[in-house]
Symmetry: C2
Subunit: 589 residues, 2 copies
Amino acid sequence: MPPYLSFLYLKLNNRNQDMHAERAALAAFFPIVDWLKNYRREDISDDVFAGVITAILLVPQGIAYALLAGLPPQLGLYASILPPIVYALLGTSRTLSVGPVSVAAIMIASALTAPEISALGNPIQSGLILSAEIGAIMLAMAMLRMGGLVNFISHPVLAGFTSGAALLIIVNQLPQVFGVKMPTCALDLGCYAQAVGSFSAPTLAISLGSLALLIFFGSPLTRLLKKLRVNLSAITAISKCGPLLTVILSTLAVSYADFGGNPVAIVGPLPSGFPSPHFTSAHLETWRLLLPYAGFIGLISYVESVAIAKVTANLRGEKIAPNQELIALGSANLTAFLFGGMPVAGGFSRTMVNFSAGARTQMAMIIAATLLGLSVIFLSASFANIPKAALAAIILVAIFRLVRIKHILHTWRYDGGDGMAELATLLGVLVFGIEQGITLGIILTIASHLRKTSQPHIAVVGRVPDTEHFRNIKRHSVETWHHLLLVRIDESITFANVSYIEDYLAGELKRQPNTRHIVLILSAVNDIDATALDALELFNQGLQAAGKTLNLSEAQDKVMDKLEKTDFFEQLQPGKVFARTEDAVKALG
Amino acid sequence: MPPYLSFLYLKLNNRNQDMHAERAALAAFFPIVDWLKNYRREDISDDVFAGVITAILLVPQGIAYALLAGLPPQLGLYASILPPIVYALLGTSRTLSVGPVSVAAIMIASALTAPEISALGNPIQSGLILSAEIGAIMLAMAMLRMGGLVNFISHPVLAGFTSGAALLIIVNQLPQVFGVKMPTCALDLGCYAQAVGSFSAPTLAISLGSLALLIFFGSPLTRLLKKLRVNLSAITAISKCGPLLTVILSTLAVSYADFGGNPVAIVGPLPSGFPSPHFTSAHLETWRLLLPYAGFIGLISYVESVAIAKVTANLRGEKIAPNQELIALGSANLTAFLFGGMPVAGGFSRTMVNFSAGARTQMAMIIAATLLGLSVIFLSASFANIPKAALAAIILVAIFRLVRIKHILHTWRYDGGDGMAELATLLGVLVFGIEQGITLGIILTIASHLRKTSQPHIAVVGRVPDTEHFRNIKRHSVETWHHLLLVRIDESITFANVSYIEDYLAGELKRQPNTRHIVLILSAVNDIDATALDALELFNQGLQAAGKTLNLSEAQDKVMDKLEKTDFFEQLQPGKVFARTEDAVKALG
């Protein structure tokens, strides 16, 4: 029974309850119970410190990723308050920071600008419906115990996709950096040059200043502070303040400097106060149109979140439960929907900031989200003047390290097939679009995997003299019969390998053209799927047309049960089904 | 060496050539050589008969499927002349009839009405580019020996897809039957009723008359003629004339009857004469936009063609070569592109007509295509008055049997997972669209397959006393060591199973918390892919954080070669790599 069901079950049957079992089920569904129980005094100071540091990053990131997704800034801020708190209650990672993330944001942007979605003319509604659908999809996957789906997206595909999405984000941000509109130039390079030529000087100045400040707050400042022997937690605190300082300085510049009538694009006014719960209604058709996008965004968000959670959990010897993560992330997205937030996931840069600032538990994220909530209530008026160029610079610096072209070479050197999948995914994302690129990568990976694993072990067997044992004719000296071909198949027969099996049998028949009866020994066959059954029926028709028969022996009970529901045994006639291979030899040999 | 390469190779090196080998290579690339060599006099009469019968079907089908695809009628006719002749030279099926087919036509219609494609405003150009791209994709797949890809689309997915596409075709044809425009009513039923209410009486009369005639020419007429003891080939000839008669009678009705100013939609004028070769040029962007559609249509066309070819080949004990089929179908599509035809594939109804009319070889299709070519040259003026309603009736009768809702129940009873995949594909095609439905079905099938096969055999082993053999501790009484965990993994480690392996190892570590060293025995591991390597690195970090080491033993040379290209061995330190498990026990035990 899944933990959430067993918890409900125990709640409903609380007569004679086993307190211990209830507490275990409660802890499985609310992992927070587990770590709160062992919470120590020194954890508090670590978590408060990490929470404050992370909160400083969350304001600019929340606004920036909402704008990147093509949504108003408040959707990013609202997504940074309650959803991480819901994740803190339900998630199994102690350091994952949940909120708006860059890769999901560019996927949302791609969905919102798709012709059929932009025709709806209501991006806020579409964004909220995406949150709801992503949440519902994740919870449905959890109910179906599909947490293992994370395994079907191989790391090379994920790496190629991430690099491709990051490049798309960079291209998407360049107009903000130059203060121009996104040009529609297709392959005309001169047109791009012209677009860049019409740049806004004050905007570019803010962009370059912001970039310089952010880069300086990276390793140069850390190195400098280390040389000055500043203590480590102070270094961490100072170096994480780059984005906040960038936002403050650039906002001051825009508010007080005079750019001579050359305006710099700013975030603009936000609704004031905290969002109240709200249920967005829309036509069924709107929900249907958005569903495929929600599926892709949800899948990628889940895979990335679990990957990031695993990295940090491994470093601390903790454990991530994939299905519980689906429940936590799904609930966080539904919360985002109810409180006016964009879709959320576990973010790479925000989790790394939280982790490296020393967060011990999700208490750090609860503190960060609370601080953010307070700032939304009391400071939202001052967010209006933040220049978009500064936010673009923050995105560029955060995203730049995700473009890992060299990683493709690295993968290729290790494994050619994986390298090809990584490159194809990257190119697919850039040329065809995000969904198509991921699809291509997954197809290539799984196709090469299936090709490798679609050749089951098959043996032509004969009888060990004076026994009832049948063994491979290549390895043992055994009796065989002129008109009888005994073939043992050592794996389940499925769509992936039935062609190989057919070809194998056809090859054996060609080598032994006098064969009148084939007996398939199915002792090791656990299953025959619908495709394999169709293929066997067709193969049998071919044999009958050539005057030969197909027979089965030693089929397992569950395989017999399945076949008995069909007319396969009638089709086989005059071919027969034998319980023992020895019987087949007696009847046909 | 693939047959086409070996053929070229031999052509280029024709000194000292082995005549026999050249002829074999020639026959592999041009299977026509093979059957022409053994062509007998009685084959000629069979093939001429079947060719004439098939030609009678091809005119209405060619026009009807072009209109279904949203293309002018001549694109269907041109696709029915040279492409089947090219297939006849190169294909390995002796009875497959290649030309415009219904399922590909509805996919083309879906591509041409997609917002980004219809914005191009040139459906003829888009249709021809699809032919070119489908041809190029098939040839590329042949070069990469990807004929086996056909195995990754399971029969339930194909059946669900076919039923869904057939339902879409039926819905698409209903407006033609009633003589109304396709209404845009979404979920408003009253709106549909209103659309049907405005039907054109003469059009509906032609539709119903055509349907009645076509249904009568099916089994009722065959039964009647059998009762009258007409000989069998005459019955075949007569019963296949239904579509032609429908077209002739309905055309006469439209040409000579007076419908009192209520016009019946007709095909309209066609260009006269035979198409000359023509190379359509277009912007690179147009080619790029159409490529994903071409990929899907090409994949489905190939899978359906091979499936149909296999059915007829099996009944005659012949053999289909998947890669050669890719070459033949790809060349046929490139021919369609050059001579102004829509994309082609092997069609179900046309192949069944050809086969049941007694075709022995592709000579039948060469004759049918030649007759069709003559009719295009001399009769195209008379095609203009064919009423669209009669063509819609022909499509409906041909397509109706492809809707097999009961088949889903049938599959479900046999195999629940397969039944679910079939239903999901059908619903996916109807709700989300053709490409999305297929994708969903393939994902479900492969996901359930991967889940079944992603649990490799793993054993904790110990040493058989006084030997250097290591055996499963569950089956043998063996020596073990307190701080040492020896684990043998019996399959390649890949993205599909590495999570399972990790979980297994974590479970063992939990049961034996005193373990200080884990040794993975890799004797049966043929490969470690990039995802698995990443996961092992992360697992090792976790072990190191807990003060434990990861070690390897008995790795195969090729696995060692791959790992040596990375820094994995450095990461393992102080964990080590041992040639023999015995060495590991000596060092760590």
